[in-house]
Amino acid sequence: MNRLLRRASLRFFLRHPWQLALAIVGVSLGVAVYVGVALANDSAARAFELSSAAVRGATTHRLLPIGGALEESVYVDLVVRRGIPTAAPVVTADVVIAGRQGLRYPLLGIDPLQETGLRGFSSFAPGGSSDLARLITSPATVLLPDTLAARLGVAAGDTVTLLVGGRGQPVEVVGTVPAIGGDVQVEPPIVADIATAQELLGRPGVLSYVDLRLSAEQAGELAAEPPAGTALVALDRAGGAFNELARAFRTNLTALGLLALVVGTFLIYGTMSFAIVQRRATLGMLRAVGVTRAELLGGVLIEALCLAVVATSLGLVLGHVLATQLVELVLRTIGDLYFSASVRAAPPSPSIYAQGGALGLGATLLAAAKPALDAARAAPAAVLRRAELEHRARRGTRIAALAAAPLLAASAVLLLLGSSDLYMAFAALFAVLAAGALLTPAATVLLMRAIEITGRSVLQLPAVLAVRGVSASLSRTGVATAALAVAIATVNGVGLMISSFRASLSDWLETTLTADLYVGFDAEGAALGPADVAAIEAIPGVAGVSLTRSVVLPTDYGELAVRGVRPGPRGWGLEIVSGDAESALAEVAAGRGLVASERFTFARGLSVGDQLVLPTPQGERRLPIVGAFRDFNTGDYSVVMALELYRQAFGDTSLTGIGIHLISDADRATVERAVREALPAPTPFRLRSSETIERLSLEVFDRTFKITEVLRVLAAVVAFLGVLSALLSIELDRARELAVLRALGFAPRQLLATLLTQTGLLGAAAGLAALPLGATLAALLVHVINRRSFGWSMSFVLTPGPLLTGLALAVVASLLAGIYPALRASRVELGGALREE
């Protein structure tokens, strides 16, 4: 780059600090949003991996019960008869800290003496063997995570009360457990000796599972001949369902981050175009005095690169700050949905900063390439003529509109080709957005034409000026309108998807929660006999009960929650979405098949009619899938069969849930009291109303989408800045024209009104273009992205609320962005503006 050209470029930006700031803010925000989301995702993902690995240690396999309980004798059998020394029995359940209802921690009951070969839990205890000895020898003693201890303000020797199944259990703290490893920020569980855990949980002699470190040979032998009522799973298969969900959730967030970067790129384009427009005369002069096209192109691109370096660096810092806020939201959401463990953020991977840097630099150069080429390609005289630019812009608008058709076709092909591929779905979604962006300028021109034609008899010339001004400044407004339309379409689309999802979830909860009260027992199940159930049924005000036994089985499809259900007077509470509902439920009731959650069938490619192979204590049992039911649960995949069939197949008569259906005029409090009294004394249980469950579910839902709201706001801010830079560009372009209007007698206020009308129209055009685009986006999110991400099908509810909000946002953002340029234009010093001719 020539020394003088470089100096001219530098001086230009120094003389226009606001424009420089606008360009830097645009690039920085785009990079910051992408990096922020990517960092938060990465940090969360690593935290969960570390959390899982910390608990898993060197464990390779896990022996799980197939229904019913895992007796301690199985462990003895493994070690003594089969000679597997690297085996550690585990009892685990979530507990709540008394008085701190929001604090839910996993309680891990281990045998410290058996842990050495598998996990490093012995290193947890700072006091060394004395603490461990106390843990083993003293009943009701635990090691608390040090962060929890600090939060509760307790130290060794203090007592805390754990709520287990709704009942308070005081335990003595014998020490604290620090974070595992140096840089790992994982909250460890509350650790207790296995006997203590069994006692606290009311499960004497019962294990949750046995962790094993096996060679391939040992694993093969044990898998071929597992102890009765158990199955061996390799640990990379365990937790498949929630891993997939968490990954899908993070993919969705990354896509939103990328979208912010796309909108940011529009902004970069706008600001770089603005910088070219402002110097059109100078560039024309430079061409006239002999600067070559290549020199001019190189100069503009180097300028963009310098700007990109500064802005991207700032964006990386901003992204880092944003990530610290977002990561909490991501962790909370993933924790709410998929885990109950408490996890803190892990330090993110440095490669993300490199990615963000490359994206920022690349996007800026890409965005600057077009204005730079425009400047370089033009003949020296043409660079001076705005009419030439507008002529090109009009031609570009037509070409862009035509280019939208193949993009839409490509989107359709992508959707058809990858019927379950999430990345293909995102590619299709981005293709639709790109097509929408390309169509927006043409749609704007058509809209303005329509307004002019329909308003011909009423529009005064100042209004005509405003209407035509939108189309006449396409070289400036085209990209800004498209960016605004994409941003607003995103707001619309995500808003519609969320409202559709919420409506579907609410409907589903109403369908599913057929009972009025729910009694929940621990995962191990409560041994309730027919007399206990009859006692509840006999309570005055109770119309009937539904019974559920739910177990998680290791299957060839991954862990699967099998629910045996005896429906209550209001039916199964299942919404059948595949197969004939009536016959499917009749088949289930007759014990001739089972219904599977649609998440499960979608994820495993199963359909109605397929045979499902389930491990039972008597060996494998094949059952046909007679239907698929809607399921918005985020835990394990699940299937439902008749309770009688479950009991017959698994020989397990315990229950995990009772739904109590009340008669219409029943006194709920009295029934609740009677239920508590009717349940056998030592059985821990939780009693909740259907309203409470619904409210809690919707609260979790609302929390889940908090992060998308943040990203939507950021996308809107970036779009707002894009419009601002475009309007400033127009103001510069039309400075003399506006001065002439003033010379002809336009009062400043009148000119301000005309310019704001034009700005409002621009926003309205973008907002209107965003309506169909947003609705399409929402339909894709509802029917394709969510389906492929989570396996959820939901109804698409086209409510006007989110759409009107988007339209209003577009108009208001444009008007706000227009105030400053319009004020500047209306107050311009007329002599100066006219003198420049």
Partner: protein
């Protein structure tokens, strides 16, 4: 320099741009209907004088009165009202509004003055016909020639029957033949409407047509023989 029937009056007007003094205590009076040409070299201050008279710029010192009104005493909105009702402008580069058709450009001052649309349309068509550019009416400015654009600009400057037309180098961007024709049209159109015409130019040939010729020399406004 005074005039008994002063339609335009400048009293001790000074104007500088930074260090450069353009006008120094200039006095001037122009009567209604006069055709005054202001001559001078490029950068001598001709355009500045016109912009001061048109209220597009304010003097550093002195008083500018147009149609009996002290421009310095008016707020910007008041000056805008005066411009839309009493003044017409013709610029060297025509300065037609690119997004309005030729007819709409001419109708614009009428529209601003609240003239009903049908009336404004009729008057603009008549004037365009009078200036020989009626066929350009539905076209946009960039679709017609420079000479046609300047005739449209003249039509826009006089359509609302202003007292005063300010023309800044109106022929500076036209070839000799077209320039002569445009000049005749401008003068005749103003004369028919008894409008005062103040024209800045550096072409001596225009001076022969004017009632009075002024020149700006060393920041002073001096009268020259016509």
């Amino acid at each position: 320099m005074t005039s008994a029937d002063g339609d335009i009056e400048l009293r001790a007007v000074s104007k500088s741009y930074g260090e450069q003094v353009v006008l120094d205590r200039a006095n001037l009076a122009i009567a209604r209907g006069e055709f005054v040409v202001v001559m001078g070299r490029s950068g001598s201050g001709k355009s500045t004088l016109l912009r001061l008279i048109g209220g597009l710029e304010s003097p550093d010192l002195g008083v500018v009165r147009v149609a009996g009104k002290d421009l310095g005493a008016l707020r910007e909105a008041g000056r805008a009202l005066l411009r839309r009702s009493e003044l017409g402008f013709v610029f060297q580069f025509f300065n037609l509004i690119p997004t309005l058709t030729v007819a709409e450009n001419v109708e614009l001052p009428l529209s601003l003055n609240g003239v009903p649309r049908a009336d404004a349309h009729r008057r603009s068509q008549e004037l365009l016909a009078e200036l020989g550019v009626e066929r350009c009416a539905p076209r946009f400015p960039d679709e017609i020639s420079g000479g046609e654009q300047q005739r449209v600009a003249i039509a826009r400057a006089v359509v609302h029957e202003p007292r005063l037309v300010l023309a800044d180098e109106p022929t500076g961007n036209l070839d000799l033949e077209t320039a002569g024709h445009v000049l005749e049209l401008l003068q005749a159109t103003c004369r028919r409407r008894q409008a005062t015409l103040v024209m800045a130019t550096h072409g001596r040939e225009v001076a022969g047509l004017a009632d009075r010729v002024l020149a700006i020399r060393n920041s002073a406004l001096v009268e020259q023989p016509a």
